[in-house]
């Protein structure tokens, strides 16, 4: 069974393009990292806000959330 030749992995060729491609990947990773951090911060802020509410406020918020959902008043279909 023949698998074909080994591709060239010499690092001397196209050094500049390789470096630019790396830089792009690196910046994408930085961006990914920051997006993840921002998302974690948003979630923590939301959690803190929610925890600081009183029971009444929380119940009110829950009711509003449920009313906003589609099919909120329909019964769940019975599974056979």
């Amino acid at each position: 069974l023949e698998f074909g030749a080994l591709p060239e992995d010499d690092d001397e060729v196209n050094e500049l393009e390789e470096f630019d491609a790396w830089k792009l990947r690196e910046l994408q990773r930085v961006r990914r990292e920051r997006a993840e951090r921002a998302a974690a911060e948003r979630e923590k802020a939301e959690l803190d806000r929610r925890r600081s509410l009183t029971d009444e406020q929380r119940a009110e918020e829950d009711a509003k959330f449920r009313a906003g959902k589609a099919n909120a008043h329909e019964e769940k279909a019975q599974w056979k």
Binding site: L1, V30, E36
Partner: protein
């Protein structure tokens, strides 16, 4: 093949990793394939931590298994050998710090990813994000593709099943409580041209793995 007197038994001085025999980190079917493979019998028999380096220098590609019978690559076989003989951590770190042989570095990184504690994994592997040398990867169908060292490291640190490593590593935030993954951002910003993406350089405090950054790359 599995007996206590066979050549495949784990070194008697090896300590368990992740609560198990280190060889169990390679799954059983793959392990059996490796034990039966000609490369394992011919080239991996009786290897020590020193002689394993020579074999690692001859590795031509990273990868797990390939071809119709999912033949194991020499890369994964040497990984199993390392799990079997359990070289000291310093030796593994020397593999990772190796500048001249990228496949030795890849092997060391993979082994560290499999066996290391989460903090160690990040400590030793993150500086390799700086390394953008080409690596051949053996695909499952037997063909080769080119990847880069930093992509391989990213896969090891982020993917669920990176290069058949089924041991999960916690996300970085839970390991270090803040800080950033990107040790090399300082280096990027001094090269310039990143200003349009903006304020990248402020991320770059990487004190906790500061002393590792000299591993760097040869470019």
């Amino acid at each position: 093949m599995w007996g206590k007197n066979s050549a495949n038994v784990t070194d008697s001085s090896a300590v368990s990793v992740h609560g198990t025999n280190p060889q169990n980190l390679v799954e059983k079917i793959l392990r059996a394939k490796i034990y039966n493979h000609a490369y394992w019998k011919e080239h991996c028999f009786g290897l020590t931590a020193e002689s394993l380096v020579d074999k690692a220098m001859e590795v031509e590609a990273i990868g797990g298994t390939y071809g119709g019978i999912r033949e194991p690559t020499s890369f994964i076989q040497l990984t199993l050998k390392m799990l079997q003989i359990q070289p000291e951590k310093e030796i593994v770190v020397e593999f990772i710090k190796n500048e001249d042989y990228k496949y030795v570095r890849a092997l060391g990184a993979y082994y560290m990813r499999l066996t290391g504690k989460a903090v160690e994994v990040y400590q030793y592997l993150e500086p390799l994000y700086n390394d953008y040398r080409k690596l051949r990867r053996r695909q499952v169908d037997g063909s080769y593709t080119l990847t880069r060292m930093d992509e391989f490291i990213d896969e090891l640190l982020r993917a669920d099943y990176g290069a058949t490593a089924s041991v999960s590593v916690p996300v970085r935030a839970s390991v270090t409580k803040g800080g950033t993954t990107m040790s090399e951002i300082g280096e990027v910003s001094e090269i310039g041209e990143v200003s349009e993406i903006g304020e990248v350089s402020e991320i770059g405090e990487m004190s906790e793995i500061g002393e590792m950054s000299e591993i760097g790359v040869s470019r």
